[in-house]
């Protein structure tokens, strides 16, 4: 389920009280109003969490649709759980990750991704991507947002690392060097280079 599907399931009247409560938390009850941009952002946060509600298998498919506030609560917990699962995946990836000397690869995986987890805001902005995903990986679903996108990215890097590990490290570096003598500074995908004939 994505955000637009959630918006079809729940009317604006059902969603607004939940957004209102979130706005209260955002302003610590010290401001009775928020800007339209902020309200839209909070609405997106609610939709994003509700979109994760069905991943808990409590289920939209059974036909019993809970109130928006309840769906949000379950979805919010699902997103938190997902963050810890993805973080665990990342930690395992880092036990064998090798950038083969490519700076962009190293910076994206070793610096940017931890930054994502550091600043990822599940409550008020779970749909934000946080980082620019500079290391290019083709074939990713760019419609994904927030932790979904990060999970997909880490999975893709994991697979790429598995592929690269099938070759001796020296061979990989030789091939990269033969493709570009300063491959360390280039913004290309290592697997693509390896697959070149």
């Amino acid at each position: 389920m994505n955000k637009s599907e959630v918006a079809k399931l729940y009317s604006m009247e059902e969603l607004i009280p939940t957004v209102g409560k979130l706005a209260e938390q955002f302003t610590s009850k010290e401001s009775s109003s928020v800007t339209y941009e902020r309200a839209s952002q909070l609405m997106e946060a609610v939709l994003y969490c509700i979109a994760h509600f069905d991943s808990e298998k409590t289920a939209v498919t059974t036909g019993a649709l809970p109130p928006a506030a309840e769906a949000y609560r379950i979805g919010y917990e699902a997103v938190i759980k997902k963050v810890s699962v993805v973080l665990e995946k990342y930690n395992r990836l880092m036990t064998f990750f090798d950038s083969y000397g490519n700076w962009n690869y190293r910076d994206t995986v070793e610096k940017a991704i931890p930054g994502f987890f550091l600043y990822y805001d599940v409550k008020f902005a779970p749909m934000e991507n946080g980082i620019t995903y500079d290391y290019p990986i083709l074939g990713l679903d760019t419609s994904l947002e927030g932790i979904d996108r990060m999970e997909q990215y880490i999975d893709a890097i994991w697979q790429e690392q598995q592929y690269l590990r099938e070759f001796p490290r020296e061979y990989v570096i030789d091939k990269l060097l033969s493709f570009h003598p300063r491959y360390e500074r280039e913004y290309f995908n290592l697997r693509e280079i390896m697959e070149l004939k």
């Binding site: 607004i16 209260e24 401001s31 109003s33 928020v34």
Partner: protein, 152 residues
């Protein structure tokens, strides 16, 4: 989506606003049902104009309790002054980049209204708060604490 937000904002707070008459009558001020309805309409227009969304009770009640004992407000100009104060409030919530809480902004408005502005809403809007908001934008931090420290 914008229209939906505003359509949900209803006049359910009208009764609560009328209840403030019980307190403000001590100062010779009261609002009629028509005044309240007009204030609510103006609130809606103002929120749309300033691109803001209000979820709770709104700020009118706070403005009433904060300004009702001002020397410059009397029955004849009460409703109109409240409406203008409401406009000014939302305008400067935006102009101060939401750095101020509702209570902080109201406190500053009240202090300036009775002091420097001598009851002039134009002076409050165009001079006092303009200067105040500019300083906030320069510093982008909670202003009140800084303001108090400077006065001490």
């Amino acid at each position: 989506m914008e229209q939906d937000f505003y359509s949900v904002i209803s006049a359910q707070n009208q009764q609560e606003l009328l209840k403030t008459n019980e307190y403000t009558c001590n100062f010779g001020l009261s609002l009629t049902k028509q005044d309240v309805a007009e204030l609510m309409n103006r609130r809606k227009e103002c929120l749309m104009e300033q691109q803001r969304v209000e979820f709770g009770k709104g700020v009118l009640e706070k403005l009433v309790y904060s300004f009702c004992d001002s020397d410059y407000i009397y029955q004849e100009n009460y409703a109109e002054t409240l409406a203008r104060l409401q406009d000014i409030f939302y305008l400067y919530k935006n102009e101060s980049m939401d750095e101020l809480t509702d209570d902080e902004l109201i406190d500053v408005m009240r202090e300036a209204f009775d002091g420097e502005c001598q009851g002039s809403l134009e002076y409050l809007e165009e001079t006092c708060l303009e200067k105040f908001a500019r300083e906030i934008r320069c510093n982008t931090r909670k202003f009140i604490g800084r303001y108090k420290r400077r006065d001490e």
